[in-house]
């Protein structure tokens, strides 16, 4: 089984999670590669995308797994070099004997937010989280539900103009757009989706490690 790490940047950020499945499948087929197909009435490629990223957000750490025969990780990357649409780039691949179950083990996503003087909100934001005052609105079918989600913020790291934030992703999720919406509203900032970039996916494998580290261990 192959696990592939890819970038989704520039205009590709406007592709939905569902469309991504088709886009990646076609990229692989254009490379002359043939994924394994499910059996049954409506066969589909055994290609599984990891946790979705909200529309409009860029990432350099997206993952999918793929059942494919007779292709090494290296060959896969070489063959698909020029077959992806703009903004999609396969950057790393691992060949493992076992299923990595990346989606099941994913617990978080780390985003880098570049914004002028972002570090100035540090103290106040820490207070808010400590006092469990981080509220987001969630639209349900009937009305708007307000939820306190401090426990879904796993880590904050500031330098002057950059904020690294790790948010829950997987079984429990705090979407990056909701996070930004909150700090924009509370601190009168104008951070937009283009200022944020997903840089890592976090796995809980006993320890919290990045998906890349996890995959490297599995490959060894």
């Amino acid at each position: 089984m192959l696990t592939v790490k890819f970038k989704k940047i520039n205009n590709a950020v406007y592709m939905s999670h569902i469309d991504m499945q088709t886009v990646i499948n076609r990229t692989i087929k254009r490379a002359g590669l043939r994924p394994e197909y499910s059996q049954g009435f409506n066969p589909h490629a055994l290609l599984k995308l990891s946790v979705p990223i909200p529309l409009g957000y860029a990432s350099v750490a997206e993952y999918f797994t793929l059942e494919i025969k007779d292709v090494s990780a290296q060959e896969f990357l070489e063959k698909t070099k020029n077959t992806a649409p703009q903004g999609i780039e396969f950057i790393e691949a691992w060949d493992t004997a076992v299923k990595p179950n990346l989606t099941g083990k994913t617990i978080g996503a780390t985003y880098k937010i570049d914004y002028k003087n972002i570090a100035s909100i540090e103290e106040k934001l820490n207070d808010i989280i400590e006092n469990k005052q981080f509220f987001i609105e969630k639209k349900t079918k009937k009305d708007v539900e307000i939820k306190e989600v401090s426990e879904l913020i796993y880590g904050l790291n500031y330098t002057e103009n950059t904020l690294l934030v790790t948010l829950a992703a997987g079984e429990k999720t705090l979407r990056i757009d909701k996070f930004i919406e909150f700090i924009n509203k509370n601190f009168e900032l104008e951070i937009s989706s283009v200022d944020a970039l997903k840089i890592a996916q976090i796995i809980d494998n006993g320890n919290k490690i990045s998906a890349d580290e996890y995959m490297k261990k599995l490959t060894l």
Binding site: A12, Y14, I18, D19, R26, Q86
Partner: protein
């Protein structure tokens, strides 16, 4: 708000950002910028074969860069206006106004207001006469050019017929005389197929300057996009298309495409196979499709499908077949391309009326095919008909329900079961230019409603059947424009000002707006939907389509006598279209 921010607020932002696999080099040095436009949304536009062909041809030219721009959906249109962002191309976000040529493919009458919608958003004046040398040359094409008069005032040039050759010639002229609109128009008027409304002479409201339709004579050698753009979002027909042939052998008297696209030009089987292989490889798509007016009439269609499905199987792609004419249906095809539901279009409910429209399908054909289909395992049938065909009586309308009953009977006989699904759909007949029915009257709206209601009540008695029908008012407006004249540009403009656009999307079609616009512009719709005198020139008579008016008259007279005429599959019937090139006649 910046454009990037708007993208996050609208539905399906993927419509506006491009980046598809297969993009040409839009940064190459060029002498001409062409923007290919389509007055409907991305998903519809990108499904259009004509757009794909022309985009490919233009970009293949070393001196031309062709980009795309499609009608933004309502939410995006509003946002562009509110933020004063002019409509721009997908590829480089260059405003439409800055192109040398803006081409617009006009596919259906109800898209006319969307032409104005796009021009409005692009800040380009609607009428050709109000645009000076600084504006792009506006060029129209597409099937609606069979009668271009309703929108003629909006365009500088209109390409009548296949755009493959003419569009390139127009581009060369514009390249040469850029900035001198008058000279460009004069030179383009000399190109076969190019109609220049502003230079044409009008007599009694009808254009009298002759224009000859242009055709690609050798389809087999014609340019075909084997590396089309592969969209990143799901589109309407999300598969690459193989065009088998242009023109049609059948000769159904209501069908504009049949007569407009003659002569019949075939793409050879080997060429199609070669293209199929390339498309599978270059797009990576899950499915490929076939396209032509009646694919079942392609010479040796079974042989072709057999070879294509082998190729498809080898590459793990699905071969999607278009609906086939009932009489060309064979068990072999059904088995190769198993679908959930069988689609048939008898078009009329009785043999008499089918003879009138020259739909050469008999009751026996229907029975034989149904028996075959049901024994092959089909449980669901879609039947397409038209209401309001010339000479139609209540008996013909009720005949549609009779066919549904018969289909059900055959199902029970063949399978011993009753679990059939029959869905009957009717559209309303719209008399179209360049057909034998171009003179006949369209039904008044009230009569359309009455006949639909009659059928509805009769079909209620057929358990397992469902009935859907076209909205009468949209068919009526389609009828108004189909045989419209130059005076209608004022109507289209007024309707747009009053809020009509995306009329082709039934949920946005506002009939009351059209009624108001017709009142305010003194447009009598019945002038266009009523019977047209045979002794007077029609608004599109200045166009030489190849098919002669006398031939259409002859076919019309046969229709009135309830007589069929054999299609042209096995011999030329002398319609006149073969003056371009001899139609491919099948000798077997």
């Amino acid at each position: 708000m910046r454009f990037e921010e708007i993208l996050l607020k609208v539905e399906k932002p993927g419509r506006y950002v491009g980046g598809e696999y297969g993009l040409p080099d839009v940064n190459k040095p060029r002498k001409l910028n062409f923007c290919m436009c389509f007055p409907d949304v991305y998903e519809v536009a990108m499904s259009n074969l004509g757009v794909k062909i022309l985009y490919d041809i233009l970009n293949a030219d070393k001196d031309i860069v062709c980009e795309r721009c499609f009608a933004p959906w309502i939410d995006m249109g509003k946002a562009l206006k509110e933020n004063d962002i002019p409509l721009a191309s997908i590829e480089t976000r260059k405003p439409l106004k800055d192109f040398d040529i803006v081409g617009m493919s006009v596919q259906y009458e109800l898209a006319y207001t969307n032409i104005l919608y796009m021009l409005d958003l692009a800040k380009i004046p609607f009428r050709a006469k109000d645009r000076d040398d600084s504006y792009p040359i506006l060029l129209a094409g597409g099937p609606c050019v069979a009668n271009p008069e309703p929108f003629a005032d909006f365009f500088d040039l209109i390409c009548i017929g296949d755009g493959e050759v003419a569009d390139l010639e127009v581009a060369k002229v514009v390249m040469k005389y850029k900035g001198n609109k008058q000279k460009i128009l004069e030179e383009c008027a000399k190109i076969e197929g190019i109609y220049v409304p502003s230079l044409s002479e009008m007599k009694d409201g009808v254009c009298v300057t002759p224009v000859k339709k242009t055709v690609v004579t050798d389809l087999d050698k014609a340019h075909f996009p084997v590396k089309p753009l592969v969209p990143n979002i799901e589109i309407v027909h999300d598969r690459p298309i193989l065009e088998l042939y242009r023109g049609c052998y059948a000769g159904c008297r209501f069908c504009q495409a049949c007569f407009f696209y003659r002569p019949i030009r075939i793409r050879e089987k080997e060429t199609i196979k070669k293209y199929a292989e390339a498309l599978i490889k270059n797009t990576g798509c899950e499915e490929i499709g076939l396209s032509s007016l009646s694919s079942g009439d392609y010479p040796d269609v079974c042989g072709l499908i057999k070879e294509l499905s082998t190729l498809a199987d080898e590459n793990a792609v699905n071969l999607q077949l278009p609906s086939l004419r009932l009489d060309s249906y064979t068990a072999e095809l059904t088995r190769k391309t198993r679908h959930g539901s069988l689609t048939f279009a008898p078009e009329a409910g009785t043999q008499r009326l089918r003879d009138v429209i020259n739909k050469n399908i008999t009751e026996e054909d229907i029975e034989r095919t149904m028996r075959l289909a049901f024994s092959e395992g089909y449980r669901s049938v879609k039947l397409y008909f038209m209401v309001g065909l010339p000479t139609e009586t209540d008996e013909d309308v009720l005949g549609i329900a009779e066919i549904a009953k018969k289909v059900k009977r055959i199902y029970i006989q063949t399978t011993g079961r009753k679990d059939i699904n029959i869905s009957v759909s009717t559209s309303v007949f719209v008399p179209k230019p360049v057909t034998p029915f171009q003179w006949v009257a369209q039904l008044p709206i009230e009569e359309m409603k009455r006949r639909q209601a009659l059928l509805r009540s009769e079909l209620k008695k057929v358990k397992g059947s469902s009935y859907s029908w076209h909205e009468e008012t949209t068919s009526f407006m389609e009828g108004v424009f189909a045989r419209g004249d130059r005076a209608q540009s004022a109507l289209i403009e007024r309707a747009y000002e009053l809020g009509a656009y995306f009329d082709g999307w039934s949920e946005y079609f506002k009939y009351d707006v059209w009624v108001q616009a017709m009142n305010e512009t003194n447009t009598n719709p019945l002038k266009y939907t009523g019977e047209q005198p045979m002794d007077k020139p029609l608004p599109w008579d200045f166009i030489d389509f190849g098919v002669k008016r006398a031939y259409l008259e002859k076919e019309y007279n046969l229709a009135l006598q309830e007589k069929t005429s054999e299609g042209c599959k096995f011999g030329c019937k002398g319609c006149g279209a073969n003056k371009y090139v001899n139609c491919k006649i099948q000798k077997d």
